[in-house]
């Protein structure tokens, strides 16, 4: 079996200010795989996703991240996104004054330009947006509002999911995608994510709770504590964590 590695993280060290948060993190994700990284609060889960996506304010002091063989750390955040990485954020950002549809159109066309495809005109874009929104049960009214402004927690996550379904990333990173969601909203997100699956798209699910993993079933589960992976296993590891908690992994600290 010759699978291509999509994401390779090797001995990653990263710090915020003077504080080292990621300490020797290793992870390889192949095409089509779903990985869950689970860990207690403060383990550095959000730092991990931010470093992969290139958010300013984090300094990588050692190690490497490669995406489709390319050195990801040399790329600007927007270039990483256009290469096919999508970060579904824990706290999607409100942007007053920018209409949701305008924002999405810019994103879609930035990606199409990168892929040497013609940019979509407003008509074609609106059609695409409405089709995808309908599948996720998103009201057109919501798309007329400014980005995330006045959205409930559930609406924000639905909008993240909508962006994901339109941009069709090769790697989607779900950062605490279930935080603040009721079970119905959770299902919408999970359905949206699962609908992406065509055997080639990969997922990195970063979560504290096992709950989301009932809907998005991982191939691998990793326990993340004190800046690195302390244990890996299959989906049963998540159930184990749910039962026993993270105490066993954090006690050494």
């Amino acid at each position: 079996m010759t699978k291509t590695p999509l994401l390779e993280i090797e001995d990653l060290h990263a710090k915020v200010g003077d504080k080292e948060i990621i300490k020797g993190f290793n992870l390889t994700i192949y095409e089509g795989e779903i990985h869950a990284v689970m860990g207690p609060n403060g383990a550095g889960k959000s730092t991990l996703s931010n470093v992969i996506c290139g958010k300013p304010g984090y300094e990588v002091t050692a190690g490497s991240i490669r995406f489709k063989g390319k050195n990801l750390l040399a790329l600007a955040p927007e270039e990483r996104a256009r290469e096919g990485i999508f970060l579904c954020m824990q706290y999607p950002v409100e942007i007053p004054g920018v209409p949701t549809a305008t924002f999405l159109k810019h994103a879609v066309n930035a990606q199409r330009k990168h892929q040497n495809l013609p940019e979509l005109d407003t008509m074609a874009f609106v059609k695409l947006m409405r089709e995808e929104a309908k599948k996720l049960g998103i009201d057109n009214e919501m798309l007329k509002r400014p980005v995330n402004v006045g959205f409930s927690g559930g609406e924000k996550k639905r909008f993240e999911t909508l962006q994901m379904s339109i941009l069709k990333p090769q790697l989607a990173i779900l950062d605490e995608a279930d935080s603040g969601l009721d079970i119905d909203a959770l299902k919408v997100v999970a359905d949206g994510v699962n609908a992406l699956g065509d055997g080639k798209r990969s997922l990195l699910v970063i979560t504290h709770y096992q709950r989301l993993l009932n809907y998005i079933v991982p191939d691998f589960v990793h326990v993340f504590a004190d800046g690195h992976i302390v244990k890996s296993g299959d989906k049963n590891l998540a159930l184990e964590l749910e039962e026993k908690g993270y105490a066993e992994f954090v006690k050494e600290k």
Binding site: E78, F86, V98, H106, A110, Q111, H114
Partner: protein, 460 residues
């Protein structure tokens, strides 16, 4: 080669009242000089370039109306003393139908006016380097527009010129008064409501000379009249050319009159532009100002509104956006001189490079002006470490039972918003542009006319 005060021949200078007014202006400017950091309301904007001694002024051409005895064989049907279209044979835009024209027109100056229209329907009037180009749109009944010199000549300007401006406190307005010959006299009669905006297009085109010109507009709206006036300042020519445009508007709003006053300043980056607009609004009159500045080395726009009678209201808003070494200054002085008067100011600025944005906003509520409301908000975004915003709000409230507010905030673009957009593949520069546009969105909504709003938006 000379400084700002020059001895050039002035139109109508043999008429005693205008001569006396010009002398007063001259003396008031001599007494004050070019402002320094110590001059009140000039502490942030330093017009050093205006101390130059190489200013070049043109002499105004004699208008035809100034020699009334001259034969007049235009057949536009307006009568000898009313027609002042100096049109060329094939260049008539006055809309009065075909007739013989005698113009020494604009195309001789190398400016193709036919192409000079903005993307909305309007009545267009043109100035080139501060000189009126005598072409008149076909105006509806009850609307009168003529060169200031003509209104001086026939005496109509006497009632208005210099009546609102305090030249003892505004050095450049004093200087403007010392010349007082170029500009427009614009009057709407009782109840006339203009169907289209009036565009006053002030075009500058300068080579190597440091051109200096003055413009003085008198805008008179009689009772219940309604108009939109769009002042457009643009520039074509060498990038590094210097010039100085010194503009004064005096605006008289009778009871229930309404004026939307727009200004777009899109000039050479070495240009110096100083403008003062003084408005007197009577009972229930409404003055709405929106100004967008983004060109010029120094661009100063000062708006003074006297809310002189009950229920008068003013909305004085502005946006500015600049980079390089520019200083853009928006200064307001709103005087609530009667009870139950209202004012609102929203000013937003985007500053990059080594540029400096200045906002000085004053609200004064005179004694006994109860029930009045004055609001003011300034917000600026700094896009570089060397950009600067200087903000001076000033509230002087001498009456009880009034509502006043002011606020000022200066910050940077939100990093999280920027990253959010980048993480969706949008270029950092494009994301910044979108955020800047969003930042200016609410101030643009102050513009009621949608075509004009769209035009400003395209300029932002």
């Amino acid at each position: 080669m000379a400084g700002l005060l020059q001895n050039k021949p002035l139109l109508c200078d043999d008429i005693p009242w205008i001569n006396a007014l010009r002398q007063k202006g001259r003396m008031a400017f001599e007494a004050q000089g070019v402002p320094t950091a110590k001059t009140e309301y000039w502490q942030y904007t330093k017009p050093r370039d205006l101390n130059a001694d190489d200013f070049v002024m043109q002499n105004s051409e004699d208008y035809e109306f100034l020699s009334v005895d001259e034969a007049h064989d235009c057949h536009c049907g307006k009568g000898e003393h009313e027609c002042h279209c100096h049109h060329g044979e094939h260049e008539c835009h006055c809309g009065n139908g075909e007739h013989e024209c005698h113009c020494h027109a604009s195309h001789e100056e190398g400016i193709n006016l036919a192409e000079r229209v903005l993307p909305f329907e309007a009545y267009y009037l043109y100035f080139a380097n501060g000189m009126f180009i005598p072409m008149y749109p076909a105006l509806p009944a009850g609307v009168e527009i003529k060169p200031l010199a003509e209104a001086i000549f026939d005496g109509e300007a006497k009632e208005y010129l210099g009546k609102l401006v305090d030249i003892e406190k505004h050095p450049f307005a004093a200087l403007n008064t010392a010349y007082g010959e170029e500009g427009l006299f614009l009057r709407l009669q009782n109840g006339v409501k203009l169907d289209k905006p009036i565009v006053i297009w002030n075009h500058s085109e300068v080579e190597d000379e440091n051109v200096f010109y003055n413009l003085r507009n008198l805008i008179v709206l009689e009772k219940g009249a309604k108009a939109e006036i769009f002042e457009y300042f643009d520039y074509k020519g060498k990038e590094k050319s210097r010039y100085f445009a010194n503009c004064v508007n005096e605006v008289f709003l009778a009871a229930e009159a309404s004026l939307h006053h727009y200004k777009l300043q899109d000039e050479a980056f070495k240009a110096n532009h100083v403008a003062l607009t003084v408005v007197r609004a009577k009972r229930e009159a409404k003055y709405q100002n929106f100004c967008f500045q983004h060109g010029a080395n120094i661009g100063r726009n000062e708006v003074v509104v006297q809310l002189a009678e009950e229920q008068a209201m003013a909305d004085v808003s502005a946006a500015y956006k600049m980079a390089g070494w520019a200083t853009l200054d928006f200064t307001t002085d709103i005087e609530h001189m009667a009870a139950n008067t209202f004012s609102d100011q929203l000013v937003k600025g985007v500053i990059d490079g080594d540029a400096r944005g200045v906002f000085q906003g004053k609200i004064k509520i005179h004694p006994d002006c109860v029930g009045s409301e004055g609001h003011q908000l300034h917000k600026a975004i700094l896009l570089s470490d060397t950009a600067e915003a200087d903000v001076k709000p000033e509230l002087k409230i001498y009456a009880d039972d009034v509502k006043c507010s002011h606020g000022a905030a200066t910050g940077e673009l939100d990093e999280n918003q920027l990253f959010y957009m980048q993480s969706r593949g949008i270029d950092a520069d494009e994301a910044r542009r979108i955020l800047v546009e969003a930042f200016l969105d609410d101030v643009l909504l102050k513009i009621e006319n949608e075509d004009i709003r769209a035009y400003f938006k395209s300029k932002v």
